[in-house]
């Protein structure tokens, strides 16, 4: 019986800049259905964190409820984790981030968790531009509760029982764009070449980064007629560009034909390189992104890749002008300055 993954890894497995192997970023063996897209996303997160040489103890994983929200158990077992209530991951993350701004916040949610019960929370975390990576593991159904149609199920998508969905879907990438998200992307669990660099770029982005990852539910929504099945998604993906992420420590060595690439430099000096971009695609233009999404939709295609990025946004801490030190690093005097200071604050409001 195998509930344990063997401890052996490839003998040539490399270590990263801080001496860890990819294994150090893994989690418990998944209990999701065999073939679930969510597991591929976990694997992409592991690769991205390994390649970025992130110290695992500097990451906080937060999630809501759903198969997708279970996945933080299956990666980064040396990181902090909080499995919150259904649809409430954004508020818990907001609280955590405001208290300790030194961690990397990785929120994982599902389409049910984000677009149904959690739609309100989603909207607010976007408009506040909380510095976090928000991964939506979007399978167009409520996997955990046996595959009911969700708010992202596409119009006319056929479910396992053969019933058409009569409702318009909510496209959270569009919503995020409209509400001011500073990094918006879409990807597919089955395309790690695209997903891993996107996750790396999103983690390096300072501000709210949203990735809608289409992630087939192999058990309840992989039937013919489904618009979130492996086959359908694979046949209908259209990428804005091929994406490549160069962390700030690395020198850019490869030479490219002029005009064939676009580069976006992040605040920390990392570079997102977009190769062979779609003609006229401009990742720094929110309206253009919305339009491109709309046009792809009309063609019946799914637009993936980096949709929009604001290279130098201000995040919630900037807006609120919070203290630059994590609260747990402040001493008692700073945290609790005493009655005199309280009185003076109260006075200022009179």
């Amino acid at each position: 019986m195998t509930y344990l993954r063997p401890n052996f890894r490839h003998p040539d497995a490399p270590t990263n800049r801080i001496g860890f192997t990819e294994k150090d970023y893994e989690g418990a063996l998944s209990t999701l259905c065999a073939g679930c897209g969510h597991d591929s996303i976990s694997s992409a997160i592991v690769s991205a964190c390994f390649e970025l040489s992130i110290e695992p103890h500097r990451v906080a994983k937060l999630s809501g409820i759903g198969c997708s929200s279970k996945t933080p158990t299956y990666f980064l077992s040396n990181s902090h984790g909080f499995n919150s209530v259904h649809g409430r991951m954004p508020s818990v993350t907001t609280g955590a981030n405001l208290a300790n701004r030194d961690l990397i916040y990785l929120g994982v949610s599902g389409d049910g968790d984000s677009a149904s019960i959690g739609l309100g929370q989603f909207g607010h975390v976007v408009r506040r531009n909380l510095n976090m990576l928000y991964v939506l593991e979007n399978n167009g159904c409520y996997g955990l509760t046996k595959g009911q149609t969700s708010a992202t199920t596409d119009l006319d998508s056929v479910n396992k029982a053969g019933v058409n969905n009569p409702f318009e879907p909510i496209d959270l990438t569009k919503l995020a764009l409209q509400l001011g998200a500073t990094f918006v992307a879409r990807s597919f669990s089955g395309d790690k070449e695209q997903l891993v660099p996107l996750i790396k770029a999103a983690i390096s982005h300072r501000g709210f980064a949203f990735i809608d990852v289409i992630s087939p539910c192999v058990t309840f929504n992989n039937n013919p007629g489904s618009k979130k099945s492996y086959d359908f998604v694979r046949e209908h993906c259209e990428a804005t560009a091929t994406i490549d992420f160069v962390p700030m420590q690395e020198e850019i060595t490869t030479a490219y034909e002029p005009g064939s690439t676009k580069e976006v430099t992040l605040h920390d000096g990392s570079v997102i390189r977009l190769q062979k971009p779609m003609t006229d695609y401009r990742p720094d233009n929110r309206h253009a992104a919305l339009e491109a999404l709309h046009r792809a939709e009309q063609r019946g295609e799914i637009l993936t890749g980096l949709l929009y990025i604001d290279e130098d946004p201000s995040d919630l801490h900037d807006t609120l002008n919070t203290v630059s030190t994590a609260l747990n690093a402040l001493d008692e005097e700073a945290l609790c300055p005493g009655n005199k200071v309280l009185q003076s604050i109260n006075r200022s409001f009179r």
């Binding site: 019986m1 195998t2 089955g190 694979r234």
Partner: protein, 598 residues
């Protein structure tokens, strides 16, 4: 690359590294699993069928399987050791019950064919084992009074107790073979003239090489040829040796000589070797065992002279050298210019090689000889140029080891059987093979698919003082059942194959993601060199095959680098469609009898 044809049994055979490396292709993982289940008789019989001498080989085999063991490739920078395959074989032999009832029946009326087997070593005994149940009448010749060949005359009792050897010889002969022991065969022609239907030569490579140096003529009484000396010890003609002994040579014979000398009164025993340690022929474990008994090994010393005073051997003179390699990698031993080294001694054992010797085979009876006075042998059929005469073991190819002799003798037995039945001996029988799914449930396999982390278990030894006191006391105590079980669990079950069906695959990546050692990649096909480089981890061990599937829906192919697969079954467990399955592959070399019925 071309799509892998897994219908060809040779593909999966190659994946079972140990079995593939075993000259007799013993189904190693199969018997190891049986040991883990406590089914020692079954484990013994699997071995017995393939290699005839499980108890002997479980103590003495040269174990080509172990360097091949996948487990040895899995550690970072060679930190992981192979499964103790050989010593597990001994566990089966030590713990077996009475297996007599499981031996193949010998028919009471014979098939009318009479075969001579010359030499009673493992080669002839294997031919006897294979042919007796088919009704052949066999006559076994040896100049020694007891059967066993070098297993008896050379391998010391402290490595192989006589009891173990006798039992396994009895399993073969079962009083059904005419024995002509204690008399050397001096004429092949005379044997042929007796009208045998076929003659098998299993006379080994009996002649030890001598070393002619200044002084050697003057003190022959104290210079002994290793192999002759060992057999004289085995047959109790020699019981003592001097206090100070030099053993010349770096092979396994030298190791047996020095350890035997330690038990016959040699207190100051040294092994002196011409070449550097890295190129010594002896198996690493034999060197280790010698050193464990307090025997130093001096490398890079070339013997120059036996020093004789008053007609008595008093020592040897050596020149110190170092190995230098030219641009073609050819080695030469170049004197360092240091002072010669003189080592005092009372006796010298010369263990510098063995040779074949066929003075008893007439050169005009249709048996042709090639270079170095070796027989001309077809190494597939083990036929000589005389169609009635077959040869295997050390006699066929020069000194090797027991398992090679056994493997070749199985082939010779097939040839003899086919020849006697009037069939073409060139038409070799295909191996038998089966492939059966091991799936029992969602997370359940019929084999223990988890991978144990234990380092290789060490075989317990008897205290050295007890061992040195009596040359017949076996040094290794062997694994007990518990240790045997723990060591058996280290086996990765490489015979449980990952079998892939492309048309079921939905390319969900689950297998690729879960595979602990990243052996799987879905990728566009290309030529081999390129493809090997393009995988998640470049597959640079070209000795190990790549599996290439049929085209998947996206036009990519599933590629598996067999090199570091743990056979853990996780790919099959995580596959939602059953595109991967774990199936037990059993490969059996076809033996005589079955070969003729096919």
């Amino acid at each position: 690359m071309e799509v892998t044809n897994t219908a060809d049994p040779e593909y999966f055979h190659r994946v079972v590294d140990c079995q593939y490396a075993c000259p007799a292709h013993t189904p190693v993982p199969e018997y190891i699993r049986l040991i883990a289940q406590g089914r020692y008789d079954d484990a013994y019989m699997i071995n017995w069928e393939s290699n005839v001498f499980p108890g002997v080989l479980g103590r003495t085999c040269d174990r080509p399987c172990e360097p091949a063991c996948r487990r040895g490739r899995l550690g970072k920078d060679g930190s992981e050791e192979p499964v103790a395959i050989c010593r597990l074989k001994r566990v089966a032999a030590d713990n077996k019950d009475n297996i007599l009832s499981r031996l193949p029946a010998i028919p009471s009326n014979n098939n009318g064919k009479r075969i001579a087997l010359i030499g009673a070593g493992p080669a002839s005994l294997t031919v006897a084992r294979d042919l007796l149940p088919l009704g052949y009448e066999l006559v076994l010749f040896d100049e020694q009074k007891v059967a066993g060949g070098m297993m008896r005359s050379q391998i010391p009792s402290f490595r192989l107790p006589e009891k173990v050897l006798n039992e396994e010889i009895d399993f073969i002969l079962r009083d059904q073979v005419e024995l002509r022991l204690g008399k050397r065969v001096d004429s092949m022609k005379a044997v042929l003239d007796e009208g045998f239907d076929a003659v098998f030569i299993g006379t080994g490579a009996p002649k030890g090489k001598e070393l002619n140096l200044p002084g050697s003529e003057e003190c022959t009484a104290n210079i002994h040829v290793g192999v002759s000396w060992l057999s004289s010890v085995a047959f109790e003609h020699t019981t003592r040796i001097g206090r100070r002994v030099i053993v010349l040579g770096g092979g396994n014979t030298a190791m047996d000589c020095c350890r035997t000398a330690r038990r016959l009164g040699g207190e100051d025993v040294k092994v002196v070797v011409r070449s550097p340690r890295e190129t010594m022929k002896a198996s690493p474990w034999e060197i280790e065992d010698a050193e464990h008994e307090g025997i130093p090994i001096l490398n890079n010393h070339v013997p120059k002279e036996f020093i004789v005073e008053n007609g008595r051997l008093v020592g040897m003179r050596f020149e110190k050298v170092e190995a230098q390699y030219d641009e073609n990698g050819k080695r030469s031993l170049v004197p360092t210019g240091e002072d010669p080294v003189v080592i005092p001694c009372d006796d010298v054992l010369v263990a510098v090689g063995q040779e074949n010797s066929f003075p008893w085979i007439e050169r005009d009876i249709g048996i042709e000889f090639g270079d170095w006075d070796m027989l001309k042998v077809d190494t597939r059929t083990f036929a000589t140029t005389n169609k009635k005469v077959f040869v295997a073991g050390d006699a066929a190819i020069g000194p090797e080891n027991i398992i090679t002799a056994v493997a070749q003798a199985h082939q010779a037995a097939i040839s003899i059987d086919k020849y006697c039945m009037g069939q073409a001996i060139d038409d070799r029988p295909a191996p038998g093979h089966t492939l059966i799914s091991q799936k029992m449930g969602v997370h359940e396999w019929s084999y223990s698919s988890s991978v144990a982390d234990d380092p290789r278990h060490v075989v317990p030894l008897i205290a050295t003082d007890k061992a040195l006191a009596d040359r017949k006391v076996e040094v290794e105590l062997g694994f007990d059942r518990q240790l045997g079980l723990e060591e058996a669990e280290r086996c990765l079950n490489c015979d449980v194959q990952t079998v892939f069906e492309a048309k079921r695959c939905i390319e969900c990546d689950a297998c690729v993601d879960i595979c602990p050692t990243d052996c799987l990649t879905m990728i566009g096909n290309s030529e081999e060199g390129q493809l090997r480089e393009n995988l998640t981890f470049p597959a640079r061990n070209v000795e190990q095959p790549l599996f290439i599937s049929d085209d998947l829906a996206t036009g990519r192919v599933m590629v598996k680098d067999e090199n570091v697969c743990l056979h853990c079954g996780l790919c099959a467990e995580r596959c939602p469609t059953g595109a991967w399955d774990m199936q037990k592959f059993l490969y059996r070399v076809t033996q005589a009898g079955k070969a003729c019925q096919l």
